[in-house]
């Protein structure tokens, strides 16, 4: 199985941070902006832009951390902490 392509945004080390997002979603955009503002090292992927053969795999991955399969899903350190939705305070506290 090939690894889906993630964008890497370099920054301060706060553990492994992965954002699963949709390119069309307002809350995903706000979450992405917040990570940038916090300046933390992270990876993100716009799941809706993946080729169809990778889509199913990506959604299964999201469902593993968030059974609703909703976006944005922010996964910290392989699921030690998962933040679902644009929860600004929670994200700031976890990564600030």
């Amino acid at each position: 199985m090939n690894q889906m392509k993630m964008e890497h945004v370099p920054g301060k080390a706060r553990g492994k941070i992965t954002l699963y997002a949709l390119s069309t979603c307002g809350w995903c955009a706000k979450t992405k902006e917040l990570l940038r503002e916090l300046g933390v090292d992270h990876f993100y992927v716009f799941v809706d832009l993946l080729p169809p053969e990778e889509l199913e795999e990506a959604i299964r991955e999201v469902e593993k951390f968030n059974p609703a399969g909703s976006f944005p899903t922010l996964v910290i350190n392989e699921g030690t902490r998962v933040i679902i939705g644009f929860r600004e305070q929670e994200i700031r506290e976890a990564l600030g």
Partner: protein
């Protein structure tokens, strides 16, 4: 996915249309203009990709019959407006938010997870037992509009949802 990005004029035109229809039906769009325009852009992108304007904040596999509940306005808008003062993507907001008595935030997903949705598609939705009525009664799953006629209308006269968004109610 190769379709051209929607033009600013297209986004503006669709925004005006959605806003007009919303206000006519007693609904309100999010007053945060930049945020709302971005969602309308997302709706147009999805319409180009999938052939229908599915919710910009939900993933689609491009199968209309599996996405009927998330074609904007989605089946979850009204209960979310009642409980959280905004729909899931926050395109639609309540009076209180429009008047700035409350602020909009990210809300929990009301749509059931994939495994449960498939079960619902396979089974039939609960409905009252057949009564001796001269016409069946159809219910719009978006806004709850009811009408008694042989088939549902092509478009809901209240919220403009399409015929395939109706369910047999009685």
């Amino acid at each position: 996915m190769s379709a051209a990005a929607p033009l600013t004029e297209e986004i503006q035109a669709r925004y005006e249309k959605i806003k007009r229809e919303a206000e006519e039906g007693g609904y309100h769009l999010n007053p945060d203009q930049a945020f709302t325009m971005n969602l309308v852009r997302g709706l147009l992108v999805n319409e180009q990709r999938y052939g229908y304007p599915s919710c910009p904040c939900r993933i689609s596999f491009g199968k209309r019959e599996e996405d009927l509940d998330i074609i904007c306005p989605c089946d979850y808008r009204d209960p979310d407006l009642d409980e959280f003062n905004a729909c899931y993507c926050a395109l639609y907001v309540s009076d209180a938010i429009l008047k700035k008595e409350l602020s909009v935030g990210s809300i929990p997903e009301r749509r059931p997870p994939r495994s449960e949705r498939k079960a619902v598609l396979a089974g039939s939705s609960g409905r009252l037992t057949d009564m001796a009525l001269p016409f069946p009664v159809w219910r719009c799953r978006v806004c709850g509009y009811l009408c008694a006629r042989d088939t549902p209308p092509l478009v809901c006269p209240v919220c403009k949802a399409t015929k395939d968004r109706f369910e047999r109610f009685i």
